[in-house]
Every structure is written in C-alpha cells, then in structure tokens.
Symmetry: C2
Subunit: 509 residues, 2 copies
C-alpha cells in the first residue's frame, strides 16, 4: 500500500542491500526514555483524528531508516496529518499519554535526526503540501511545511522568483524540514541564512498549542522574535506546519565557470578576488580537491570538464566552481570574462571552462553536486560537515588523511577499510565537507576519526556541524562547538518548552 518515499542521492541498489542495523543494536548502551507505549486505544484515537487512511502501521520501513542507512528505529505507526489542527490534536494526545514523537519531513537528513530511535510515533508532514499564498509584488510566499523544495522553486520560477535556498536533496526534502534544520546549501552565499529570509512560522508546541506566527512583513519589531527558536531546532521545540518566506527575484542570467588551480592558497586568493570583482553577481563559490573528482568520476562515468578529450582527470590539486547570477547577461559575461582573463594572466587560475548553455551548466554542477552520492560508491562514507576559518579549512582533510595513514587504515586494496578522504564545499561560507570514503563501516575507523576530528575543529574555533545539524549523530559532541553556558541554556530551554521531552528525543541536546 504505502510507497517508499523517494530519496534523492540514494540509488535503488541501496534498497536491495541487506537491512540497516537497528540503532539500538549499534549503540547497545542507549536507554529508552520513560515514555508511554503505543496501545490499540492510541491508534483508535489517531484514526478518529485523521481518518483511517492517514494512519499507517504496515510497510513503514522507509520512515524508520535514514538515507545514510546508518540508523534504524522501531516505530510502529506513521501519521500523516493534512491540517495544522490535526497535528495539534495528535501532539496533545501524545503529550497527555507521554508518547514520544519523531517529526519527519522528506527524511533526507544526514545526522539521523529525522528517524525514530526506539518506538517514537512518526508524524510525517508529507500530507501537508499546499502553497498557501504568494504575493507577486513583495515576493512573500506562504507554504505548508510538507511542500517539496524543488516543486516550490518551480512554482516560483513561473512567477519570476526564486526560493532563497537550494540543496542536493531538493527533489525530496520539504520546506518545513529545511527550516527545522536551518538548511544552508548552495545559495547561502548570495541570499543569506533562513534566519534572515524566513518571515513567519506556524508550529505546534509540545502541549499541542498552535503557535501561529505566519507573518508576512519584512520588518516587524514587536517583541521577541520567537520564530527564530524553531529555525534549526530540529523538531525538538515544536512541529513546524507552515512557513512564510521572502523570495528574491529570479536572476535572468546565470553563468558557471569550472576552474583548475595549483593550491589551496590559490583557492583563497581566487575567492577574495571574486568577492571584490564579481561582488553582487557572485552566487556560488565552491571548491573541490582532486580526490573528490576521482571519486566522482567513478560515479558520473563521464569525461571531466577540464579533461580536453582525455579520459584522465587533470593533475590540478584543486578545482573551483564559480556561479554568477544577475539581471543583465551582457554585463555579467563582461565581469566574468574580465575576472577570468586577469586571473589566468597572473597565474592564479591554471585552466578553466565556462558553460555556454543550461545543459553545460548542469554538467559542471554535477562535478560538484555528485560528490556527496559518489562518496559512498565503494560501500559507505563518514561525513563531516564543518565550519572553519577559511585559512584552516583544508588543513582538516590533510590531518584526517595523515591520521588514517598512521593507523594503517587507508589503502588501495580491500584489506583497508578506508578508500580516501575527500574535501570539498562552500568556500564562501567557510563550510567544508570532509567525506571519508570507506569500503565498510568499522568501529576502528570511527574511533580513529572521532573525537579526533571534533577536537581538531574545536582547537581551530570551528563548528562541528555547519549545516547538517546535530540529530542523533552529534548529540554528544555539542561541547566541541558550544560553551557550558550555551549548553546549559539550551537544555534549560528544552526542559522549559517540552517538560515531558516528547519531541524528537535521544537527539540534539
């Protein structure tokens, strides 16, 4: 009956593989919280709130497993409300009964935050997917939380607007989930964080109260900006049911350049220059190391953009993808051309290509966007999503490789669990993705990498989670990024708003 939710970045092959290990088996010391246990009378109540066809108890594996296939919960029921008041009634009932809840959007999270750990009731927002309103003068959009990012952006494209967020999982992630996890992604450099562009939120609080703050004003200084608390709270303070967001005008001209440079220093120099010279039209500045291109080539099975007829990847140690977006193609072309010419002349850029049409643009982006999925092609991947001061950003990849070598875990043959670490990410945001590509998940590799990587980040004043969030995976590592005072305040806030701890337990804080 129930179809598996399509998840971007997961090939069908993955589903035919053996079952994902239960989270409680992987982490045998985990204790179930003192919550109520689902009874037939609860199901009866859920059915009376939602109707029989929105309460699912069979074929719900897809809601228990995360897309990384690292975590699997044991929820017995998935609820798909269609209205905010249904969400409210569900939550109120669960709070009265002390039943734990796992709110779920598109289930594309990368830190185990969107799947249950024990037997939490899954509240899926996928039944709430209506666009509520759009104002064509102001660009203010109001949507249900379950709207898919990509289809919402397509709706906006027809109106000459763009959603101020873009990320790899756009085909399945939901806007409510994006806001709940404060998703960053590819357009942050240009359009800023969701803390700036989200104008209003509707959320159901842990006691079932509907917090209706769906404002549509760009400026409103009448009291604490409470909606901000929900942005990035990963479903632990409330279930987001609606979002009001300010959307910018869609750029008329988009250019993409793919460049080869000789060092990480050249990456930084090119970024500084791009900020000065491309300035207001710069919409993305991404970097990739050569190792990431090697891995991606196995996945894309296509010639590299700078290969010039050869089947090899050129020897440049670093690659850069620059995107410009503007309102005048001629002006943008002139700025980019001037920028590339002077950078080639002074030797900062060694090689490069510029897209001539939309198809080429997509191809160039694939050599950046494909890395995430490509990283698991040999069996699995340990993903680290970190913020660091720009000058230190790549040193972490070098340090990780060195440490794996010392532990004799990395090599070209099957006896070594690790294939290679690869580094890439959003230079413009100081955001590195370090993917340690492995043939298999082993405790040994995990122990060599953690807490080493978190300690390294902490020493260099970075963040252990730039955009992926905390979820289950990083719950116990927050102290590497936040002080005792900050952590105490967070725990206090959670206790204050959710005294029974029913919302998304075992995670976050």
């Amino acid at each position: 009956m129930l179809k598996l939710v399509f998840r971007a970045g997961i090939s069908k092959r993955a589903y035919s593989a053996k079952a994902v290990k239960l989270t409680v088996e992987t982490y045998p010391n985990l204790q179930r919280g003192d919550y109520g246990t689902l009874e037939e009378s609860d199901l009866t109540r859920f059915r009376s709130i939602l109707g029989d066809s929105s309460v699912f108890v069979d074929d719900i594996e897809g809601y228990n497993e995360d897309q990384m296939r690292k975590y699997r919960g044991q929820s017995q029921v998935v609820l798909k409300p269609k209205t905010t008041s249904q969400v409210s009634e569900i939550v109120k009932h669960c709070n009265d009964r002390k039943l734990a809840i796992c709110p779920q959007g598109g289930n594309t999270g990368l830190v185990g935050g969107s799947v249950p750990v024990f037997d939490e009731v899954v509240v899926s927002l996928s039944g709430m997917s209506q666009i509520r309103s759009f104002d064509e003068t102001s660009g203010i959009l109001k949507v249900d939380a379950g709207c898919i990012l990509e289809s919402t952006d397509q709706f906006l494209a027809e109106k000459g607007y763009i959603f101020p967020l873009d990320l790899g999982a756009k085909g399945s992630c939901q806007i409510g989930g994006n806001v709940a996890t404060n998703a960053g992604g590819l357009r942050l450099l240009r359009y800023g964080s969701l803390h700036g562009s989200v104008l209003g939120i509707e959320a159901v609080l842990p006691d079932g109260t509907v917090f209706d703050s769906m404002h549509s004003l760009r400026k409103d200084n009448t009291g604490y900006d409470l909606k901000q608390l929900f942005i990035g709270s990963e479903g632990t303070l409330g279930i987001i049911t609606g979002v009001s967001v300010l959307c910018p005008a869609r750029p008329k001209a988009v250019n993409v350049a793919f460049l080869g440079v000789e060092s990480y220093e050249a990456v930084q120099d090119t970024f500084s220059k791009a900020k000065r010279e491309l300035s207001e039209i710069l919409s993305a500045f991404e970097f990739m190391d050569r190792e990431s291109q090697v891995v991606n080539k196995k996945f894309l099975k296509a010639p590299h953009p700078l290969a010039e007829g050869s089947d090899e990847i050129p020897e440049y140690p670093f690659y850069i993808l620059i995107e410009t977006s503007g309102s005048n193609k001629e002006h943008d072309d002139a700025k980019l051309e001037q920028f590339l010419e002077t950078s080639m002349e002074d030797g900062t850029i060694l090689d490069g290509t510029v897209s001539q049409d939309e198809a080429q643009t997509r191809t160039l982006w694939a050599w950046r966007e494909g890395i995430s999925e490509a990283s698991q092609i040999e069996g699995g991947v340990y993903k680290y999503d970190v913020s660091l001061p720009l000058s230190k950003l790549y040193d972490l990849v070098i340090a990780a490789r060195e440490r794996l070598r010392e532990a004799n875990l990395i090599g070209e043959t099957d006896e070594y669990p690790v294939v290679d670490p690869v580094g890439y990410g959003h230079v413009g945001d100081g955001n590195l993705h370090l993917n340690v590509c492995v043939r298999r998940y082993t405790k040994e590799v995990e122990k060599v990498l953690e807490p080493f990587i978190y300690e390294w980040i902490s020493q260099h004043h970075g963040s252990i989670s730039a955009e992926h969030g905390l979820g289950f995976q990083k719950k116990n590592y927050v102290h590497y990024s936040k002080s005792d005072v900050e952590i105490a305040m967070m725990k206090d806030l959670k206790r204050h708003y959710d005294p029974n701890g029913i919302l998304n337990p075992y995670k976050y804080i």
Copy 2:
C-alpha cells in the same frame, strides 16, 4: 564634569527649551515596581567594581531624557563599565539587591526604550567601544557593544567593507543598541536584517552570567540559535556587550536618482520594475509624499532637487529616491540609464535627476533623511513606524489626515495643534513612516490618533512597529500586532530568564 551625549537629529535649540516632563507625570497611573532602592552602599559597591571615575551621580539629565523629549526618568546613577566582567558584576549585584536596570546605548531610540522611567540604574555601554577584531578575508567583524555605528563603518571603509546597517542616527547610535533593537534602516533592502548578518553575541544575563556566543562562523548548526533572542529584545533579556557581524564588500560604485511621479500607484509600479531591472544593484528604494518635502524644505532651506531654478517644490504628489550600489560603475550607469529612460518614456516617471558626485548624492539623500528631524520643526511630532502590505501602505496617511480633519485639529494657523501628517519610508521593506507634525503635544491629538492608527494597522495585517521597537511607547499595544499565544510566550520567556524583572522594566512586554 559629565558632558551631554551628542544626539543625532536633535538641534541645540531643543536643549535650551524647557525641561522635559517626567514620564511619571505624563502617565500618573504608572506604578513603580517592587524593586530595591539605591543606597550609599550600592554606590560603594559600584565604585569598587568600576572605579570612582565610571560612576556618575551628577549632571546625568542626558541619560534620563530621550531624544524625542517625550520621556524623562529619575535615575540617580549612571554606570559606565569598560569590560564585560564589570557589566557582569554590576548586574549580579543589582539582581541580588533587586535594583532595576536601564541599559543604554547611544540613547537615540524613538519609543522611550533607552531611558529610565523611575529610578532604574542606568548602565551605559559607551565606555566599551573597542573594535575587537576584523578578518579581511571573510569580512567578519567583532566589536564592543558601545562602538558608534558611523565610526565603525568608517573603519570598515578603509578595509573595503561596509557595515550591513545604516540609519539616520549613525553618528551617535551604538552597535549594541542597534542589535538590541534590531535596527532596520536604509540598507536592509540590500543586506537583509540583523537576524541574518549578526553571527555572534556576548551578553550579560539578568543573573550576571556572561553568555559568550561571540562566534565568527557564517554557518553553525549546533543547537538553538540563542543569540537570536537578544536581537530585538530591547535589553529585557540581557545586556549585549559584544557583537560579531558579517560585513559585505563595500560597493565601488554608488548612484542615486531622485524622481517625481504622479501617484502612489506609480511608486509601486516603479518599485516592481526596479526589482526586475536593477535587481542585484538596487540598494535603496525610498518614497516621500509632497507634504514631507514641504516640511523638509523649511528645515533644509535649500532648493528642491527637482525645482529647476524655482524656489517652489514641484507639484508631483510623490517622490522616489533610488540608490544602486555595485562593483562596476559603467554597468550600473547603463542599467540605471536604461531603467530611467524606459520609465520616462512610458510615463511612470514624470521627472528626475541623477547625482553626478558624492556631494550631490548627499544632497539628494538629505531630502529623504532630513524629514525625520524636519518633522518636529513646528514644535513636535507623533511618529508612527509601521509595516503594511505595499498596496495599503499610503492609505494609512490618508486615513490619518481625514480623521484629524474630522476632529478639526488640523490647520494652517496656531489654533490648530496639528500642522500636517507626512508619509515617507522604505517601500522596499513595506515600511511607512507616518509623522504627524504638531505645534504642541496634546492629549486630544493623541486620543484621535491612538488607538485609531493601531487598529487600522491591525485590520490591514501590518505591524505597529516596523523598526523602532516597542520601548515604553508601544508596550501596551503589542496585541495589535501579535496574537494571544505569541504574547503569552513572550511574557513567559521574560519571566523565565528574568524572574526578578530587573532588566529594562515598564517597557516592551
């Protein structure tokens, strides 16, 4: 000994006028809270924390009066800490003794939020004015709360960067105060709100705890974004002592055009077109009605930009100021020229002038920025700073004038208290400034305007405070913009963090 703080927008004349009425005289029903009373032993303690030279008990009128000359408190002591730990010790002592505190930045607020009401201890941040650090690659700036906005922006200008906020009071307002009041201002259209650009905050909590969250990462998803609570909390949850902010590259080219149009519809049409055609270089879109220009002319005593040799203001009912900022002067000029040409051709714009140099740019801006000060030239002004849907924005000015006429309060001679209401503001942000220029403050005018204006805004789903905040003036009107659930949550939050209610009482919520 103690100099009066210079306040932008207030002429010296104002200070020679008669004393400002005490707030408790104007509002005789106000009750002092159940707070401790300042004793000699408290002063001794303050002197031991700060040293004698940072504790002021004489000549402190400037700290008791607001810049609108509408509110005057009766504080007996002004403290000027130089370090965060001094602020912490002061607050801890006050909390132990239940002494109320009024935190104060540049005291340029417009809603009576920055001056005491009764005998609160004034904690002025003006002694903390060091730039802590600036990263020239990332543009991330860390400052003490007491840094003056304008001098900070001058510091950034030398480095090729710009502060993402600009407002009329920049010469005296402080960055801590800007953040505490979530100031909006002139650059919001381009650089977004402080909720997006502030990366970190250091604040002293009501019990004296130092909340050190001075992060400098563009992306950090490790827990609740607690700093957001302090942005716009007007000193009621903590005293901001430090700010970390992301600064954009300073534009190399700035153009300003000043235009005359025939209707408010033409203002909206021009805005829609500017968003499409000037797009990424559009940095300000301001409108002014003719009445605002009449008032401003009395103040500026200069020929109007569109007067063409005459001493009259042209008959256009609405004026527009457009600013573009970009990285390539030639491209920007071409875009603006094309925009203006087609708009003149199709009749949307009737007249206009474009600045040729920096001096002209400043002159054109003066016809927008001067209105605020000009509005009180006849004696006083009732200021309303509101957000409304764009199509309804100017209707409020018409409705207010109509209502004042009906009450027979508006006229050209001295018997009428009201001179005229004028309307202007940030169209790009849906933010109207309605200034009712008066010859004198009277209860009659106030009663005709309030709550009428707030009700009108509420009916049209606007905000009663777009950027000025709540302060003392709008504390009791929050329900016109926020729901019962929102207000209950705000009150709960205040109680939770400040159970003794010592921080900035009688205001906000």
